[in-house]
């Protein structure tokens, strides 16, 4: 091969390798969506915050300032026993009445169409998943539950005020999380000898609903705030005081009352 031919061969190979490209952008079609809206009511009326206008079953006058909580492991149940877990993307959702964007949850996409009998979810986070430092960013990080008290995160922060027996306005932090067992019920951190995971499964009351393909399907989950202090056990702030993080008995009442504190309806 002569130098000239070799020269053209090399250059031709190089030029050939430069060819071919395009830069047009294609976007796929959006998917089917399943959303949940969270609302909060007292006596079936939308809650008004920072107003001392409510009275619970124990006769405590109270007001609510804010509510923060986690729901997780959402399941949709069909009458034939089939269970769908729509939240394949994120199985833990944080709700904060101070942050409106958290009141809407894109819980899943492409949920099979059909009629669903009910839903269930874990209130809080399951023992397996509730690990310290799992959340590092606000707002979820602010739900951290101290390591010495069991670690992980609060399931619920329901904060407000009540009037005590002397009509003095006092703060309450109705907080649920991992409970502690204290030696001789001392309530002192060094005496902790065990923990109780207080997360629980909720099956909200409500009618069956249908999921339709090709559209956004929205459910509304209603937290009946008054129910935390009633049914099946009457909760009295004057009995348990303002802080219950280290009071497993009070938290247990909260757990029992919370199981029927939710209802659901199709929007």
């Amino acid at each position: 091969m002569t130098s000239g031919k070799l020269k053209y061969l090399i250059v031709s190979i190089n030029l050939a390798l430069f060819l071919g490209s395009c830069t047009e952008k294609d976007k796929p079609q959006p998917e089917n969506e399943f959303r949940i809206n969270f609302v909060h009511t007292v006596n079936n009326i939308n809650a008004e915050f920072d107003e001392m206008i409510y009275t619970n079953a124990a006769g405590n006058q109270y007001e609510v300032t804010e509510i923060m909580y986690f729901v997780s492991d959402l399941k949709l149940h069909k009458s034939d026993g089939q269970i769908i877990e729509p939240a394949t993307w994120d199985d833990i959702h944080y709700i904060d009445t101070n942050i409106p964007s958290t009141l809407e949850w894109l819980a899943g996409k492409n949920v099979p169409q059909g009629v669903y009998d009910s839903i269930t979810f874990t209130f809080g986070i399951s023992e397996e998943k509730n690990q310290s430092f799992m959340f590092v960013n606000p707002p979820e990080v602010n739900m951290a539950w101290p390591e010495v008290l069991g670690g992980g995160y609060h399931y619920l922060m329901l904060n407000g005020w009540w009037k005590d027996l002397n009509q003095v306005r006092r703060p309450f932090n109705f907080h649920l999380g991992i409970g502690q067992i204290y030696k001789d019920n001392s309530g002192q951190v060094p005496d902790i000898i065990g923990f109780i995971h207080n997360n629980f499964t909720v099956r909200p009351s409500g009618d069956s609903f249908s999921i339709t393909s090709g559209q956004t399907n929205t459910l509304e989950i209603n937290m009946h705030i008054d129910s935390w202090f009633d049914t099946p056990i009457v909760y009295d702030h004057n009995t348990f005081g303002g802080a219950i993080m280290q009071n497993q008995e009070a938290m247990h009442v909260g757990v029992e009352n919370g199981k029927d504190a939710f209802s659901v309806r199709k929007k």
């Binding site: 070799l6 430069f18 996409k109 606000p138 990080v141 101290p146």
Partner: protein
Amino acid sequence: MTTARFLRYHFRIISLVFVSACVILSMEVTAQQKDSTIYLPGIEVTGNSMIRNMPAANISQTRISQQTSGDLGEILRKESNVSGIRRGGYAIDPVVRGFRYSQISVFLDDGIHIEGGCPNRMDPVLSHIEPELIRQIQIIKGPYLLEFGPVPSASIRLVTRPDETYFSKGFTLNSISGYDVNRNGIKQHLALSQSGEDYFFKASGGFKSYGNYTDGNGREWNSEYHKKDIAVDAGIKAGKMGIAGFSYKGAFGSDVLFPALAMDELTDNTHIFSAYLQPTRKIDSRPQVSASVWHSRVYHLMGNKFRPQYSQVVPPLAGIMQAEASASTSSTGGRIGIHYLKGKTELKHGLDFRSTGKDGTREMKMIMNMEGQEFTSVKRFNLWKDARINNMGLFTTTSFDLQKINISASARVDFNLYSSGDTLTIATSEKVWFDSKPGSHLLFSGAVNASIPTGQNSRLIAGIARSQRPADMQERYLKFLATGYDRYDYLGNPELKPETNIQTDLIFEYSPDKMKFHANIFRSVISNFIAGTLLPPSVARPVSQGAPGVKQFNNLEKAEFIGFEASFAWEPVKNAQISIASGYTYAWFHSVEKIIIENGGIAGIENLTNDPLPEMPAFETEINLNYEFRKPKIKSNLGVRMVSSQNQISDAAAEEKTPGYILADISLIYAPVRVLTIQAGINNLFDKAYYDHLNRKIIGQSERLYEPGRTFFVNVFFSINRK
């Protein structure tokens, strides 16, 4: 009033005097017609015949020493189509033709590898070597230089090793001092050497202490850094074998601030040992043997102790958050090669070995006050656990003439083994996402370059290369750290396949009398491109504060890079040179995922096709005007850097456009006596407030980190030699 404050206060006066001096001196340009040294930075390439056939650039020791900055990354950024990622005031991470991180092989001499400790790349390889120790930097813009280890998509070779010119010099003292007004930064480096006919010994050391810089808007950025270094070189003439030598380099950084990262560097200690046998005689048919062994180790400690959330509750946080991470790395290797002529064909063969290990831990502490009590929660976990990557390679290169065409060809094969002692397993019912089991890859790389004369003063160079890059320590084994530009936490992937790069270059050079023209176009196609893809929060949640989610390194189908470099240099009159150099790269993914954000949270992903790669440098042009006066002996330089806006941005990465900017730097070098040279200048003459497209955002904000504003600098070089 401190010196810095004084100089800042009188800056306008100083600038006026300085610029006036330059203008007055420039008026003599046409009158000066004496001999001078031609200096053509845009196209300066040296080295052996093989490197001369590659798309390459060279930065000499003189040019390095005359830079204001003590940061090699900043020095490299002045090269055509070479950029850098700025995260703070120091350790700019180089980007060559859009390639970055492990896509660029950065090494010392004949393959000395340094494994940085920081997963956030506070300490890229270049930050472990002080500029004063470097004799030359070779940048090879493609996978062509295969004789010094596996090459992904570009090489940066730092030549530090003494050669035969170090002998018979007697006693030498070299001192470099510098002061930077903007940063109130001072540097001092001292080198002492003694050599005879058969031996040399050199010891050097120095420090740099730079404060925060101020941008063109007058805003001060937390960007201080402090470094110390020490180095020892010794060698003897080993008869016909050449030079037998030993070298140690130590670099020690402390309190290096990175406003674009969640933590700052608290300590970074580097030790590099090497012993070598280096031939010095001219190549002939008798094989020359070169051999070396080396060991490098790095200890890196970072934390957030300089951040407000370390000591106080910063809303919206409800507690104090303290974080610290440390990493220890080591790399050990060796190389043996033979080099000879067979007829007129130049041949090199050899083998090399490298074993790199990395260990790292992280501690997070949250201090909360709840219901009147203070609670502290602490968590410690591994970043890496006994992670190790071993690489053994065989290489061969040849260079010969086929009639008038000079052809050079290289090939190498690497056996790459990796393992980790980590016990983390992330698995769901559908798949195993992370399981650090060991594995291996066999990698094949090859390159051919042909130089074709097209006239008396011109030539055409064609190059084609294929290279394979195995995943690095970070991509394979990292656990939950925000290492990318996007603030997501990243998770390694032990199952990664190697990236394969097929690159072609076409270079045209033309050098008529007193002119040089150089143009290079290239195309690079990378398959199995390693990049992060989002993991569902149900699989992994972020651990780093500020990280919106977790991405795992995965192989994307393909990415393509296409671009050019062009330069022109001219000596219009004696002692005067003008050079212009431009470069640009456009790169895109064939297919990439885009994260859908809804209500401030991650709602899912969608796939985009042909989306530009993020963090690609904008088109830029550098113009340099040099004039050398003979009486008084002064060299002057006016540099103008023009960078266009970057509008080719990644939709998938939600990148934002970056406006262009124009900068001017001016400097004078004056040598009143043989032993003393003084350099003074002004960088960013017009105090432009700007940021580069590759500058990271400030942590927790959408604002980009600005570059330094105007600064006045002085360097003093002092040299004594007594035989």
